[in-house]
Each structure stands twice: as C-alpha cells, then as structure tokens.
Symmetry: C2
Subunit: 241 residues, 2 copies
C-alpha cells in the first residue's frame, strides 16, 4: 500500500492495467482496481458525500466489506482515488509534453477516453478541498507559467507585466469552466468533461477572447489607469472589471 504512493503504474500491479476498454465491472481486472475506478466514477457523478460505500461496491460488482478490506475506510478510499487520479493526470501530462499550446491546462487530459472519468472527478473534487488535487492545481499553474513563457519567447503570446498572475487566472478560468461543465452543457451544448471535438462552441469563443481581446485599447487604457490609481488609495468604488 505504501509502495504505490505516486505512480500507480510500476510498483502496484493492480493499478492501471490497460486491458483494452475495460468497463468498471470487467471481471478480468482485479477487484481492487475495479473498486477504485468505480469509486472515481461515482464520486465524479454524485460527489463524495452523496456516494455510499454500498453504491461503489455495487458499481464494482463486489460486496461492501471488500471495499473496506482493500482500502480500510471510505476516507482512505477517497485518498486513494485522489492519488490515482493525480498519478494518471501526471502520466498524461508527460506523454503529451508540450505538443499543443499551454493556454488550456486541461487539454492534455481531454485525450483520455477509456478508463475512469478523470475530468469529471477533477471537476467534483476541485471544490471539496483535497490536498492532492490542490497540489495538482499548483503544478498545472507552474506548467502554464512555463508554457506561456515559452510562447512569449516564441512570439506567440503577448508579453505581460505579471506572467504568473496571467497564467494563474487563465488556469482558474479553464478549470472553472470544467467545474461548471453542466452549465456549459446547458448553455452551449458542449461537453467539456468529455469529447473535445464536440466542444467547439466553447473553444472558438475562448480563442476569440484570448486572441483578439475583449476591451478596446482606448477603454482598456482608461480602465487600467483608474484601476492603478484606486489600488493606491483605499477607494473601492472605482474600476471593476
């Protein structure tokens, strides 16, 4: 148990067996991995608090006590899910390296089709404070900073006074849209946690915003000046983006 802390691929033989497109109840996979993936699926769909151990056991096709046998408690199972998802995300990240641009920190994960719903799990657990997921977000910001610095050097991205601030806000926006994928589905008909090919109605406006800007240069200069002035005093009624 303590040997599969970070990777989940090399040391733990039950971790990520890519045996084709194996469903959660595939009897060929070990019960432990089926339970873990079932938990990820249910946590992603209903949230951690609203998911019972019995529901996870049923989804995995095992008995509830087996869940305890393998993971000790629901809370430790949740930690195992966090760690497994974090490991898979890092794995994906390293595979894609820096193929596409770094403006969408979730891009690398969208290529993940088989296996547990990574993006939906992230979207859920981003908001009920797991330290492992928070760590993952920090890494995504770091990656975005690095990618964008590269893009800036390549002349693809505009320079900025505050590269880390810009990368952080863009990461928050991208993850935030992912978290709100239900609303994105309703409003735009896209599936941000699923097939990226069916998310063009999100990506095209996003590209438009990031590429052509939203505020005209004249208005921006005016607002920016007001902002910087109000940030010196204690006035807070001035400019608000």
């Amino acid at each position: 148990m303590s040997s599969a802390t970070a990777s989940g691929t090399a040391s733990d033989p039950t971790a990520s067996v890519p045996s084709g497109a194996a469903g959660p109840a595939d009897p060929d996979r070990t019960a432990r991995s089926r339970i873990r993936d079932a938990a990820i699926t249910r946590f992603a769909a209903d949230g951690v608090a609203a998911t019972s151990v019995r529901a996870i056991a049923e989804e995995a096709g095992v008995s509830p006590p087996l869940v305890m046998h393998h993971f000790g408690s629901k809370d430790r199972l949740r930690v195992a899910c966090d760690q497994h998802v974090a490991a898979l995300v890092r794995e994906r990240k390293h595979e894609v390296v820096a193929g596409s641009s770094g403006l969408d920190p979730v891009a690398a994960l969208r290529t993940y089709d088989e296996g547990p719903p990574l993006l939906a799990y992230l979207a859920r657990t981003l908001i009920d404070g797991s330290p492992h997921v928070a760590e993952l977000v920090d890494e995504m910001v770091d990656d975005a900073v690095a990618y964008m610095a590269e893009g800036e050097a390549n002349g693809m991205l505009t320079p900025t006074d505050d590269p880390r601030g810009r990368a952080t806000v863009l990461t928050l926006w991208s993850l935030g849209a992912l978290v709100l994928h239900d609303h994105a589905q309703r409003l735009l008909g896209v599936d941000l946690a699923g097939d990226p090919a069916r998310s063009m109605d999100y990506f095209l406006p996003a590209l438009d915003i990031l590429g052509r800007g939203v505020i005209t240069p004249e208005a921006f200069a005016r607002i920016d000046e007001g902002f910087r002035n109000s940030s010196d005093t204690t006035t807070d009624d001035e400019g608000r983006a």
Copy 2:
C-alpha cells in the same frame, strides 16, 4: 407557507429584514429567517449533502424539529434557500443596474457584505444542480449579452462574430473562478467570495487578459485558420486552445 413562494421580499415579512448587521443567531429576527440564513451559511461552508439538519438548527439557535416545522423537509429547506438567494441576487442586480461594466457578472454581488454569504452559497450550489441556480446563471448570461452589446455599441468592447458565445464563455469563466475561490485564495491570496478590494491580484491579470489579449495577432490568425479547417473534417488533433 405558500405565500412566500418566489420573492421573499414583499409578501413574506420575515424575509429580508435589513436590521443592521444581524448575525445568524440574532434573537430579534424571526426563527424562520434565522433558520434559512443558517442553512445558507452551512450549505455554503460544507455543501448540502455534508450539512445536517441538526447543524443548521444549532447554528440558528433552535431545535431540529423547528426546521421541519417551518420548511417541511431538508430538501424543501434547500429549495427555499435557492429561491431566497436567487431573489437576493436579482434584487442586488436591479439596484446596481448597469453602473459598472458587464464583464464581471458577479460584480454586483460583491458589494453585498451583511447577511448570508451569497457568493459562497452560489459557489457551492453551482455544481450540484439546482434548477433555480441554473435559471440564475441563464439570466446572468442574458445580462452579460445585453451589457456587452451596449459596450460594443459604445466602442468599449471589441466586436465579435459570436456575441452570445463570447458572453457565455466569459460568464462561465467568472463564475468558475468564483467556484474555485479556495484555489484562488491559495494561489493568489485573494478572496473572490468576499471583499473585492482584496482581490486585485485576480482582477488586474483578468483585466490584462481581456484588454490586451494573450495570443499575438499572427499566432491567432494561424490558430484560428487551423481551427476552422479542422472543424469541417473529423480531425481532432489539430488546434486546441
């Protein structure tokens, strides 16, 4: 009970009594409103599923059965909270009219200091699918479309092919950042669900992105062309923002 269905301001005398900065346990307010505000506070802090009726009753300084007496069930209490928050949000929205720009659909709510934590409640319930909150999001998008059309006419905002798409994505980003306010706190030290004056490290990069753009015109033209070509075929490896 049936008289306070939608508004909570005009018909229900216990709804929004602005009696100074009244805490949740202020004995001067009616038990019903104290219970409702206590529920909003606890739902905002811990989520709906993880909050017990007993915890709400304790926060409101009443007994658990009184919660049932006034609201019938936990689920109906949650609906009442949704409706009350939606009513307060609409109230705030109409007060501020269109004073500041429409780029931040949450701006009008940030001025709300006293009373239950509206923004934190929204941040929580945005992700566990309440129809009332979804309706509210739809209205925010509509408002953003209207505000931005006005800004476009005034020459403050750049024109775009897809005004609704742009407004929708910006709304999703703004709300998404709000939902991730814990991460924004950790990464930027800002409090997006609280005092806007202490959120400059978020607003300034956001303004920079929206004002000056992120992608250089040349790179944007290249990516945009690749995007539009790939949207015709079934290729999905081409462009990804």
